[in-house]
């Protein structure tokens, strides 16, 4: 059972979408996506029709990604558990909905042009996280107990 957040968790989800015809049918995705969970930072890379990798990165690397997704560990847990519960994000937990719920946004970037890849590839990115409903996730942060 992969732990969120971890490189392993993103790679497991990446392998699932790479085998998923529905993901391929959504079209090409070219994006370097940062994921910020508390102090932990990751980069998930998409190229053409697949997720090509995931790695841990440092704060300085955020300048190189197109945008990064940032919320508290508890909010990440809520989002992933909501997806697991419903098979995909419900109306209130989509990436875009979360983005609008935060004054500073969920998708952030140092580059006003590259940030728009969050919108251009939104359905594919949503699909990526929705596919995580197929795996059991262990949380080491944002634990409720």
């Amino acid at each position: 059972m992969p732990t969120f957040p971890s490189v392993e968790w993103f790679k497991v989800v990446g392998e699932l979408v790479n085998k998923d015809d529905a993901f391929r049918r959504l079209g090409t995705v070219d994006a370097r996506v940062g994921v910020k969970v508390g102090a932990q930072l990751f980069e998930v890379t998409f190229e053409a029709f697949e997720c090509t990798g995931a790695r841990e990165i440092g704060e300085g690397d955020l300048r190189d990604v197109d945008f990064w997704l940032e919320q508290t560990p508890e909010e990440w847990r809520e989002m992933i558990e909501n997806i697991r519960e419903h098979g995909s994000a419900d109306l209130h937990h989509t990436l875009n909905t979360i983005d609008l719920s935060k004054p500073e946004g969920f998708a952030r970037s140092y580059d006003g042009y590259r940030r728009d890849t969050f919108y251009r590839f939104n359905q594919s990115l949503q699909h990526f996280f929705d596919v995580s409903s197929k795996i059991e996730t262990r949380f080491t942060i944002g634990a409720r107990s």
């Binding site: 090409t28 053409a48 728009d116």
Partner: protein
């Protein structure tokens, strides 16, 4: 009695006979061709090209089949096989397939700063003399270029969607009358706006010269997506017991339809208007009553973000290569902003959004607050994109929009 209809026997010129012998063409074949009106110089050229006697006989047989019903057979030319284009080009597919960027190699990838031809000649082909002009009006690269145009076209093709079957229409549930009326009014507005964009861009396509086909293809995809949005929002309005609402006031449309310059149209339509529409799609997605509307708005959002990407990259290109156009572009934006603000007289769309965002007519005040948040986000994203294109409009922004750059009380 002599057969007067028989063709006269023709003589084969000495040089032609020698050439024919060397090429393996029998004399009777050469004589037949001359009787049919072929010119000796043309025949010599075919022989030198390596055309065989059998190929000629097949050609004659094919022509003979058509003689009974068609016009006289044309003479072989084949000089087109020797035109001096760049030959031997072997573009290779990438992970995304054989893309437009992948075939932009050698001379075919050289995009001139000025396109010299007034015809529909493809870039990299050899011009034919005396072809009639097409009356294009945009010949300079800086007038239309955007470095991302080819990639955006490929992205649009790869990420296309079908409103009829990709939207889970069955997920739409009956809504209270006020909410149904609100979403139908919003859809009326978005459908109308998308059709205007498609129409405006369609008018500009024939103005853009052929040398910049990447931009023409990119705009063709935007036009198609305008049609798709017109379709999908109209379908949503007509599928759940409601119907269309009130026509928009159209002030903002006017600033686009009146644009006399391509960059002016791009600045107003694809940067200003589309930035604001993109945020409307974001809010539509977030406040959708069902998964169907949510997907409609999310997919429309993807398309709209591509339109903005072309527009803003074009402005950046213009300013990088023609810095003296900065004030001109600022004036276009001023005009566009003024008419966009005038569109706020469209109370129907504002109130419909407020009911949708608030969750009902009885919560319209809450919805109006969210509408103001939406406006703030529209202005913020618009300014951020302009900033990327090296345009800082915070000081020159229309006062009614500048108010949204202040921190909310």
């Amino acid at each position: 009695m002599a057969d007067e209809s028989a063709a006269p026997v023709v003589e084969i010129p000495t040089g032609l006979a020698a050439q024919a012998k060397q090429a393996g063409w029998p004399e009777d074949l050469v004589r037949e061709l001359l009787q049919r009106g072929a010119q000796p110089a043309d025949l010599v050229r075919y022989m030198r090209m390596g055309v065989t006697a059998d190929q000629v006989r097949q050609f004659i047989a094919g022509q003979a089949g058509g003689e009974a019903v068609g016009p006289p057979a044309p003479q072989l030319d084949l000089s087109w096989m020797k035109v001096p284009t760049e030959w031997g080009t072997r573009a290779r597919p990438t992970k995304k397939g054989l893309t437009m960027d992948a075939i932009n190699i050698g001379k075919y990838g050289e995009v001139p700063d000025t396109w010299e031809y007034q015809t529909e000649m493809p870039r990299g082909a050899v011009p034919t003399l005396d072809v009639e002009g097409m009356s294009y009006s945009v010949y300079e690269k800086q007038e239309l270029w955007s470095d991302n145009a080819a990639a955006l076209y490929e992205e649009a093709i790869q990420r296309r969607w079908r409103p009829a079957t990709d939207i889970p229409w069955q997920a739409i549930r009956p809504l209270p009358d006020d909410l149904e009326r609100a979403i139908c009014q919003v859809c009326t507005h978005l459908s109308e706006k998308a059709q205007v964009e498609a129409d405006v861009l369609s008018g500009w396509e024939p103005e853009l010269s052929y040398g910049y086909h990447e931009v023409k293809l990119c705009l063709a995809s935007v036009i198609f997506e305008g049609a798709r949005h017109t379709e999908v929002f109209r379908k949503r309005a007509l599928c759940n017991g409601g119907g269309l609402g009130l026509q928009s006031t159209g002030w903002g449309f006017r600033s686009v339809t009146d644009a006399r310059n391509f960059t002016e149209m791009v600045a107003i339509q694809m940067v200003l208007q589309d930035s604001f529409t993109l945020v409307q799609h974001q809010y539509g997605e977030a406040f959708a009553p069902s998964a169907a509307e949510q997907l409609i708005f999310r997919l429309a959002m993807q398309d709209k973000a591509r339109h903005v990407a072309y527009g803003i990259a074009h402005l950046k290109y213009v300013l990088l290569h023609r810095a003296e156009r900065r004030q001109e572009i600022e004036r276009y934006l001023e005009k566009g902003e003024a008419l966009l603000v005038a569109d706020d007289r469209d109370t129907a769309t504002r109130e419909a959004f407020a009911i949708l965002l608030g969750g009902g007519k009885d919560r319209i005040q809450e919805g109006l607050t969210k509408y103001e948040e939406m406006r703030r986000r529209q202005v913020q994203q618009y300014l951020e994109r302009l900033s990327w294109a090296t345009i800082d409009r915070r000081e020159r922004l229309h006062p009614a929009l500048r108010a949204y750059t202040q921190a909310p009380e």
